[in-house]
Amino acid sequence: MENIIKVENLTKIYKIPKKQNMWRSMFWPKYEKLVAVNNINFAINRGESVALLGPNGAGKTTTLKMLTGLMLPTEGSIDILGYTPFDRNFEFLHKIALVMGNKNGLSWDLSANQSFALLKTIYELSDDRIKHSVNSLAEILDVTNCLDRPIRKLSLGQRLKMELIAAIIHNPDILFLDEPTIGLDVVAKKNIRDFLKKLNTKNESTIILTSHDMDDIENVSDRVIIINYGKIIFDDSIEKLLSNYRDKKYITFIFKEPVREAELKDFGKIIDKKTLLCKFEIPAKEQTKLITKITEKFNVDDIDITHVPLDEIMTDMYKSGNT
């Protein structure tokens, strides 16, 4: 596999002004150093879909900004397709795209098609190519009828889809996404995730994604890089991450008639209880035993067994600094 992104000893240190009285901070400001990214190393292959995860302030967005050339690293090097991002080489910029869920690149007052005309000039695309690109992307994302409406008249989901089309209109090799589904409803989120997955598998686009929505990660990414306090604490496949928590299962029982919590508490650790529902957290090896006991004693309508959700794994890892 070809490494298209190589990051070596990457460090970013911010200078933060120290709190002093007004005159001192005006004339003799003092700064303290905040290490946002601390000497990290990783490589990404062509066609991989990688999630950068971490709690707020962990350094994932700073890493993404350095990868896209928005910020200059304090130390270390980044090589993407043979280019250094901060140099803003046009050939490099033709091969990447950045989508930020909470930022708007399209003009609020114009239609998406009118904004795309400017992108046509920027990416030096022919009329036919941009028409084909926009139409096919709009069709997949189901926004064909919104292309000529002013952006301000579109829903949040439709706007984000237009931003996505604007970002990948030139068919980039690498797509950087920062919180791409933030604020969207479940249907719009699913649409965007399916689209990104298709883009990754069909076009072999490399995707680097940051999100706090674990469903984004599970549905779009194959590999996870977890950053905490500026350091990488995990870098492997999602399967490997889940397998670390394989010995724990969640079993949900749906009963045909109401069951009191007092009747269930001796069977295991209850993590959710509603009138007709009870969710247990148990060691994986005890799942058969629990199912047998519960079904013998109560009238069960349905059973659902799941692994520990990714967001709980993340919470656990962030708290413990697990590797």
């Binding site: 200059l72 910029l93 990447i96 930020m100 708007n104 690149g105 000039t121 919180e179």
Partner: protein, 274 residues
């Protein structure tokens, strides 16, 4: 090498053209709003002309300028103001907004000559058409009717050259002060200061300043060059042969500073958090 250069020029030209169309479409999205501005600039200009007329009813000259010459100065000032307003102010405001919101990220990651793009991203041609032409039409008529002295062609050309170079200096001056947004995030007050300095004393003839102030004032009061000095040159009141080369050198220095501070600002850009 030459083809690369041609390609770069072509890209800049195409961007300029597309940004002009784009800005025009944006401006006309709210067509009704434009009439308000047109009326306000028209009334401002009319009031100002009445004020000048009232002054020259009582006195013959101001700093050696008669009524016709003051009207010409006003015309030059207005042309400079509208050009700077349509190109510079629109873009410095937009850049500051984009830096603060982090939307600049989406342009930094696109293959555009960034300094060129942020300089011409918003070309307010609509403002030129809707605000400048109706407001300056009475002024042009007054200049034609009241300006009697002959103007030498060479002075006219030199004056226009000074005006154009002065506009470039004024743009760089405002743009450089606006780059403070990369360090401070919010810089509305700095932009206000740049605006005030940019148009400070634009109704004062060049000869109205003391000789010493004329020399240093040109470094931080751009309107002294693009309006006052340009008019003085057109009228033949300033025939110093060194004027044009000095202004040219000053323009090059401001352009060089513009590029250097822009590169520094980009290195300092941390982008708003997501």
């Amino acid at each position: 090498m030459l083809s690369e250069f041609n390609k770069a020029i072509q890209l800049r030209f195409n961007l300029l053209r597309e940004c002009t169309f784009f800005s025009f479409r944006e401006a006309t999205a709210y067509a009704g709003n434009n009439y308000g501005n047109m009326l306000s600039t028209f009334f401002y200009m009319t009031t100002y002309l009445v004020f000048i007329g009232a002054i020259f009813n009582k006195i013959k000259t101001v700093a050696g300028y008669n009524y016709g010459e003051i009207l010409l100065l006003t015309l030059v000032t207005q042309v400079c103001f509208y050009i700077v307003w349509s190109f510079t102010i629109s873009n410095t405001d937009l850049l500051a907004r984009n830096v603060k919101s982090g939307n600049l990220d989406l342009w930094i990651t696109r293959p555009v000559p960034l300094l060129w793009f942020v300089t011409f991203q918003k070309i307010n041609i609509n403002s030129l058409l809707m605000d400048a032409i109706p407001a300056t039409t009475p002024l042009v008529i007054l200049v034609i009717n009241n300006f009697k002295e002959p103007i030498l062609f060479v002075n006219l050309l030199s004056g226009i050259a000074v005006m154009i170079m002065g506009i470039v200096i004024s743009h760089c001056f405002q743009f450089i002060l606006n780059l403070s947004c990369f360090w401070t995030g919010e810089n509305q007050n700095m932009r206000n200061l740049a605006f005030e300095l940019g148009f400070f004393g634009d109704a004062i003839p060049f000869e109205g300043y003391s000789p010493n102030f004329r020399k240093i004032g040109m470094l931080f009061i751009p309107s002294m060059i693009n309006s006052a000095l340009a008019t003085s040159v057109i009228l033949g009141k300033n025939s110093n042969p060194i004027t044009l080369p000095v202004i040219f050198v000053l323009m090059i220095i401001f352009m060089w500073l513009n590029i250097k501070i822009w590169n520094l600002a980009l290195k300092h850009y941390s982008s708003a958090s997501s």
